[in-house]
């Protein structure tokens, strides 16, 4: 039997033992325990080490706000590396058979941790330490400071294997969402459900009930609390309320959308592998009732972080919910009445209460009488000036305070200290709504004031204490939510006996005799921020609470300051000499508690992270052993290696074959938009730089699209199929953008134009044949079109059949060779490809991929939008001035081309580059004019494209260079890490400048 387990007490199942290990040591707990309660039952308080000073720490709470007791667990059936869960709050982790828990942030062991030397040097690690220390010399950054920070940073260890579990994602629409299953939430759900509304009730705990789970002695309407709770939960279920325990409302988003994370399997010893680990719910609620309750504040005194020092209310929860006494001899330190009931409850099960130390001089008579009856010494108007004990508190020093003077101290031996600085409403979700807070001077805390969301706040969450008040307020707020939805219901009230309401005072750090610089009074336990740090931050000039927070890291740990924010504010306000409401609270942001990436990703992982678009010819390329690359969402064949070939040799062969015989290229990914209507040509005139009205219905033209700012946005060949019909192609990545831009102009600027736009990208498969033998390969399959050069010249288009398939056939080229693009309905793409491939064998055909396409087009100086342009390149800059219809009065971007900055000669212009020593340049490399200038050098441009040219037998490059057109023949320099390359500026057309090969 565990030494600190109280037989028969709590909601744990005393008949069901659960075996687990902590740091390798086997322990036994009970069904219904958390890891924290099970360890406390064995007298184990030491569960972790703090982040900065590696101080020994134990649980200070019994809930999700826990800053200290963070452990590593392994989930599920196999407990594999991918199921490692760092920073599990031991206070929330439900015990299950075989659970392995490991402490964190210590080496070599939890009891003896080398990192604890930091604690001895705490005077060297003050607030803002990182900002002050890692300033200079600059050269120390890479070798000294960064490695140091990285080694010290982080709490817990990230698993380095993929998470094998699955995560689900759901939507839910509900009339009323109630957040929090305590008395207020239960009453709100009941009222709304009785009004006939669809109600959802969520609670982060494993059980619905909230504070009632820790208050078994309360009697509601004549029924003991737990019987009343069981009846109420059953009644809600019968009314159709969706009850969701183990579900955390992580964020309150616009228009009553609440994010919920439901933990489905973590608590199971052998979860069904078909179940997701967690479900993320996106709930749209017509009304929300926030009934999140309140969090107890610690008191700030020297040594308030020693294992064994915990919140009084949490000690009460360990006793009443889990049947665990947190110690043998307790000292209660409080500024609030509520801690007294914790003392009385513990005294009743045999824990000796060595003293109740209250900071207040005036105390309630009934409390004093009860303490007296139990023989508990009461020290009123006292302070705490220190605690002792290495891995567990062993004594506390208390001193009287009279007229502000701290008297002589007295040591009291104890093995636990139960503290309470009063309660602060849980404002997090309310704050997510940008709700306004108001300062409650009496309670020294912020209360929710108003929000634009359709939201009610009930119970302790708005500063109402006691179960009777929470029940009445919850019912009233549930009824108010119902009324807002047009349903009527009467709010109820409940008679509660043995309710333990109370009041208290809020304190800054407790007065002490000691020199303040030597005290270690913790405000933020997880980030090791002390009261002294907060005061130092103010002394060093931090005025805004947001600056104080960032300078000290107060409230920035994974608990997001649930326990530290109000205490931090009170101390900072005191140091600033300002009232707290003027200093204000830092902003709470989602998520309420740490949330797994898995829950947020849901199904969007692996192959489902993003869709992969494949062309009809893709399976053929895959069967041929093509190497693929992603282009936008498309998967494109990059090259087709033969056995033993690497990319360079494959690309060299593909280039040679295409220029000497014929190459086949899958161009199906090109964006395709069909533009139809009596004003189709007029519309294109306005959109593209080129003239379209006089283009004959059997011709194609290169189209250049600018933004209204005059910079190149997209390009592609456009075929006129009929007087009122154009087939527009766009870049592979630009199709959706171009269509959206066209729709924008058509709908909002020129709605009078009679034009219809249709995306047909996936309706057509496009096969490009390039090379001197392209016509010989294609011609036998074509019916209905004369392919002779005279009848079907460069930039002709026609409708015909190819191998019996209906086709739009274009004579265009992106290689500089004789070229055809065959568009057939997508369903025929692969069959046509294979027919041409078979026939092509006699002509020495090759398939080529995007890499060869890039080399061949670069040899001809054809640009790739987005590679050779970057959103600041005009048609003139790119050498495409010829594509502008000079006679056109207007087109998108035309006016911008005459803005003064667009005309200066020093603009970056697209030129060719040939290295002097024939080395290949790096794409993205910067260009300078004088390589011997001091660093940092003036950069005049960069390399945009660079390839080895098979045809030229040397590397070639394209680059954007300031005033490049005026530097033809000049030498520029490209400094690399190990050497500087010299390159000569040339034109962009490296091969066949007269274009003779196109005319074959």
């Amino acid at each position: 039997m565990s030494a600190f387990r109280v037989h028969g007490k709590g909601r744990v199942n005393h008949g069901r033992k659960v075996g687990f290990r902590f740091d390798g040591t086997p322990f036994e707990g009970l069904e219904g325990d958390t890891v924290a309660s099970a360890l406390l039952a064995h007298g184990v308080h030491l569960m972790g080490r703090s982040f900065k000073y590696h101080r020994p720490r134990g649980p200070v709470t019994a809930g999700s706000e826990e800053p200290n007791a963070l452990i590593e667990t392994r989930r599920g059936i196999d407990r594999s590396e991918g199921r490692v869960e760092p920073n599990t709050r031991a206070t929330m982790a439900e015990l299950r058979e075989g659970l392995e828990a490991v402490s964190q942030n210590r080496w070599p062991s939890l009891g003896f941790d080398v990192g604890a030397v930091n604690d001895g040097f705490h005077k060297l690690l003050p607030a803002g330490f990182y900002y002050k220390t890692f300033m200079w010399p600059k050269s120390f950054w890479d070798k000294v400071y960064e490695p140091f920070i990285r080694a010290a940073a982080g709490l817990g260890r990230s698993p380095d294997a993929p998470d094998p579990d699955s995560y689900a994602s759901r939507y839910l629409h509900t009339d009323v969402l109630v957040v929090g299953g305590g008395p207020a939430g239960l009453a709100a759900a009941r009222a709304a459900a009785e009004a006939g509304l669809r109600v959802t009730l969520v609670d982060e705990s494993s059980e619905i009930g909230g504070s009632l789970l820790s208050e078994p002695d309360v009697v509601i309407d004549g029924t003991p609390a737990w019987d009343w709770l069981a009846g109420e939960v059953a009644a809600l279920a019968a009314l159709g309320v969706k009850l969701m325990p183990r579900t955390t409302a992580i964020g309150y988003y616009h228009q009553n959308m609440i994010g919920l994370v439901e933990r489905v399997t973590d608590h199971l010893a052998e979860p069904d592998p078909a179940l997701p680990r967690e479900r993320l719910w996106r709930v749209r609620a017509r009304q929300v009732v926030l009934a999140q309750g309140a969090l107890e504040k610690p008191l700030i005194f020297d040594g308030n972080d020693r294992p064994g020092v915990m919140l009084a209310g949490s000690a009460q929860t360990y006793l009443n919910r889990y049947g665990v006494r947190v110690g043998q001899t307790a000292v209660v330190v409080t500024s609030h009445d509520s801690a007294w009931s914790a003392a009385f409850d513990l005294a009743a099960v045999g824990t000796s209460i060595a003293a109740i130390v209250d900071t207040r001089a005036e105390l309630r008579e009934d409390l004093l009488g009860r303490a007296h009856a139990l023989g508990i010494e009461v020290l009123r108007g006292h302070t705490v000036t220190g605690t002792a004990g290495r891995l567990r508190v062993s004594a506390i020093t208390v001193n009287p305070v009279q007229s502000g003077a701290v008297g002589a101290g007295r040591n009291i031996a104890c093995d636990c200290v139960l503290m309470s600085g009063g309660w602060t409403p849980t404002l997090h979700l309310f704050s997510h709504t940008q709700g306004k807070l108001e300062w409650d001077e009496e309670g020294k805390t912020f209360l929710p004031f108003e929000t634009r969301e359709d939201c009610q706040i009930a119970g302790a969450g708005r500063g109402l204490w006691g179960i009777e008040a929470a029940l009445a307020d919850g019912s009233a707020m549930g009824a108010r939510a119902a009324e807002a939805l047009g349903a009527r219901v009467l709010a109820r009230s409940h008679a509660v006996e043995r309710d333990r309401t109370g009041s208290g005072v809020a304190k800054k750090e407790l007065p002490t005799l000691k020199d303040l610089t030597s005290t270690r009074a913790f405000v933020d336990f997880q980030n090791d921020v002390t009261a002294k740090d907060l005061r130092l931050a103010v002394r060093e000039g931090m005025r805004s609470i947001e600056h104080v927070k960032r300078y000290t890291t107060n409230g920035m740990a994974t608990d997001q300051g649930k326990m530290s924010n109000i205490n931090g504010l009170i101390i900072a306000a005191d140091a600033l000499g300002k009232p707290a409401p003027q200093v204000g609270l830092t902003t709470f942001r989602p998520p309420y508690t740490p949330t797994s990436f898995g829950a947020l990703c849901g199904y969007h992982r692996g192959d489902h992270f993003d869709l992969t678009r494949k062309t009809p010819i893709d399976p053929w390329a895959e069967a041929q052993g093509a190497v693929f690359e992603p282009v936008g969402q498309w998967r494109r064949a990059r090259y087709f290696p033969k056995p033993g070939e690497d990319m360079d040799t494959a690309v060299a062969r593909e280039c040679l074959t295409t220029r000497s015989a014929v190459g086949m290229f899958d161009a199906s990914t090109l964006g395709k938009i069909e533009i139809v209507g009596p004003d189709a040509a007029a519309f294109l005139e306005r959109m593209y730089t080129n003239p379209w009205s006089k283009l004959a219905p059997d011709r194609c033209r290169y189209g250049l699209l600018l933004g209204e700012d005059g910079f190149i946005r997209d390009d592609g060949v456009i075929a006129r199929l009929a007087q009122d019909r154009f087939h527009v192609t766009t870049t592979t990545g630009g199709a959706a953008r171009v269509l959206a831009m066209m729709e924008d102009y058509l709908q909002t600027e020129w709605p009078h134009l009679k034009v219809w736009l249709t995306s047909v990208t996936e309706q057509w498969a496009t096969i490009a044949l390039n090379g001197p033998k392209a016509r010989a390969l294609l011609e036998p399959f074509v019916e209905g079109l004369d392919l002779t050069p005279e009848a079907f010249p460069h930039m002709a288009n026609g409708t015909c059949t190819v191998a019996g398939f209906p086709a739009r056939l274009w004579r265009v080229s992106f290689t500089g060779e004789l070229g055809f693009e065959i568009n057939v309905p997508a369903r025929h793409g692969r069959e046509l490809w294979e027919i041409l491939w078979q026939a092509g064998q006699a002509h020495g055909v090759c398939a080529y991929g995007t890499e060869t396409m890039h080399v061949l087009r670069a040899e001809k100086g054809y640009i790739i939008v987005g590679q050779d342009t970057d959103g600041t390149v005009t048609p003139q800059d790119a050498g495409l001035g010829w594509a502008i219809g000079k006679a056109k009065p207007d087109f998108v971007g035309k006016r911008s081309l005459s803005r003064p900055d667009m005309l200066v000669e020093s603009r970056k212009q697209l030129v060719g580059l040939l290295t002097e020593d024939h080395s290949k340049l790096e794409e993205g490399a910067q260009i300078v004019l004088d390589p011997s200038q001091p660093i940092p050098m003036k950069m005049v441009g960069h390399v945009t494209s660079s390839y080895h040219s098979q045809a030229l037998g040397r590397p070639i490059a394209l680059a954007l260079v300031e005033g490049g057109f005026g530097r033809m023949g000049d030498l520029v320099h490209v400094p690399m890490e190990d050497r500087t390359l010299a390159a000569r500026i040339t034109g962009t057309v490296f091969l066949d400048p007269a274009g003779d090969r196109l005319k074959m």
């Binding site: 959308m257 924008d744 006016r895 003064p900």
Partner: protein, 100 residues
């Protein structure tokens, strides 16, 4: 996630169906060649960026595909109204009065 009413579909739908499309009521000049450099600069780049009600364009991309106009309060991130492209600017005083 916001809920947005498409004035064409006459339905209130999640933000994920829509895309933002910049400030509204900035008409492209009928004849840009007659516009001064300064006026063209303003057309291209200068936006009101108000703290408060903002006239802006949205597109029901994953629905009817139509561009429409909206008034959204940039402080509260609430839509005060949405209306069809081409309709006149709604009166702000009326809208904010209604919002109170």
């Amino acid at each position: 996630m916001l809920l947005i009413t498409c004035p064409y579909c006459q339905e209130t739908l999640p933000e994920a169906e829509f895309v933002y499309a910049g400030e509204a009521h900035i008409a492209r000049p009928e004849d840009p060649s007659q516009v001064s450099d300064e006026a063209w600069r303003d057309f291209l780049f200068i936006r009101t960026n108000p703290k408060g009600p903002h006239f802006e364009r949205w597109r029901h991309l994953h629905g009817c595909g139509r561009f429409f106009n909206a008034v959204r309060d940039t402080v509260s991130d609430r839509f005060l109204t949405t209306y069809k492209a081409g309709e006149p600017k709604p009166d702000l005083a009326t809208l904010t009065g209604e919002a109170k």
